[in-house]
Subunit: 338 residues, 2 copies
Amino acid sequence: MVTIKDIAKRLGIAASTVSKSLNNADDISDSTKELVFKTALEMGYKIKRNKNNIGLYERRVCVLIDNMDYENKDQFGYDLVLGLKTAAANRNWQADIIPISLNVSTAIADNYDAYMLQNKYSGAFLIGFSMHNNYFKQLERTRIPTVLFDNHITANSKVGYVATDSYEGIAMALNHLKSMGHKKIAFLNGTKNTMISDERINSFIRIMNELNLTVYDELMENGYYVPNCAKYHVPTFIENGATAIVCASDLIASDVINEVTRLGYTVPDDVSVIGFDDLPFSANLTPPLTTIKQDRLSLGASAMILLDGLINDIPISHIILHSKLIERNSTAYVKTHI
Amino acid sequence: MVTIKDIAKRLGIAASTVSKSLNNADDISDSTKELVFKTALEMGYKIKRNKNNIGLYERRVCVLIDNMDYENKDQFGYDLVLGLKTAAANRNWQADIIPISLNVSTAIADNYDAYMLQNKYSGAFLIGFSMHNNYFKQLERTRIPTVLFDNHITANSKVGYVATDSYEGIAMALNHLKSMGHKKIAFLNGTKNTMISDERINSFIRIMNELNLTVYDELMENGYYVPNCAKYHVPTFIENGATAIVCASDLIASDVINEVTRLGYTVPDDVSVIGFDDLPFSANLTPPLTTIKQDRLSLGASAMILLDGLINDIPISHIILHSKLIERNSTAYVKTHI
């Protein structure tokens, strides 16, 4: 176990200076702090469970949020964050929720590991980060236990991710549609070239093959998690004879229903629609949406389980949750002609 | 929460009879016990955390072992079981280790859920079961939180599995070989048509493609986890120009080294060999084996983490651990000709 004395010895400075630096004292220069953090990280210094150090909690962890809404119940992040906070509280951990856009850029704040160490965070959960984010780019070499959502870093045993089983969810959706006679099934995926979109389209193709249903290139498109993506693809899907559309989110599915209706067709009589997520609003759509549920409270709880594992040197790469098909009224038996 | 009274009411019998049945009392007939267990399961009766009920422990869980050696340190199951028992002890859970071959067949013992309920097990970890096992066949519909190793059941949110990340491990092995100039790389897989063998061969093919290395059909074979499988395939691999052989276990790799040597070649000068598992003996082979480590203590710990999740209604499908390449002396730079 690397101690403050070890760091002081390596740097040839007083232990009190190291201690003050790690505690971010005002009377130490930024350049000294940076040197201390860098050396501490290189030597493998770890945040200790020390009540004097972090108050009444056993540990401090943080939830860094970039690009995901979580402030009202209809947003994906709401239950995710609630699940995280509950699971942290059960461990007597303090979980700080930090919208990353509010962080001020400094030499230490820009260095992911130094930022964590300076703030006495034992680990972090990152939600919604793009691969171009400065922190995300540092994850390949981080020594801070870090959990991602729907995204991955290879070959760093300090980083893991949580996600919902795409294969299982899409298998349930396609079995459901096949049992109602659907054969020409379209898939409107999310943003291209993300881990989760790749997994979903690969699952869709694999399961269609397993069910002996023909896969048509013109019935697979990438949308984006924004309004109105449906209007570019739904007309083509219908022209090409699709009787059902599986969507990568409830938001996309909601747009798809609107677009099908705008084109003069009816959901589910002419076209069946299935969503993904089971956000609260999906039960109140017209018609109420059949969808693949992601258990967001459990995803949040699992993120803390994974972080707990990484902090205790259990090298978990990922925790994947079961999905569940919620059958409502946006799917029905296929009509022979539309 | 379903109570003993609810079960008694449904069956129209005394609560004391239900209680005695669930406690497996001698003065209740087997047919009554079976009826009580069946009804209790249908109604969703759960084992309570009750110190009077199960002694000093918080919970009882069991580890059912079929077809895996675990009694000495050189066997795969040893650290797995040790990891399980340690993680159970940390939770104040009693973990019974049960070699399933010793179980006596009775109406109750043959019914997986009834057996668990009768023995007051909150959940189970099953190791080494074949798909033809009577218990395994009941897992699609079980209501008992159940964790498998390297095997899966779809669409039952009460069943999950733990495994090591095959893709990551094989990627490290192939990157290592490619960096030493190897191009014709063979893969000697385990038993055909298991989840884990399918994952490994799919990973091998995918990564070879990603590394722009040609995949040769004649350099991919299935062995078995038994001695002497190497002698059927190593001669063909060498005839077809393989300069490196990746094996699905250290046991297979050990046989492969012997077979390469018997054919008059040298490991690693003529043929590089990589194993999978990092069992204790692999460091003592001649030459010491380069291998993909499975962290078996952490696999055991993760199985308990998963079981804990399922017991608390967190529907974890699987927990996958990072793998690690342990570089020893059975791999070397490729020779131009062998």
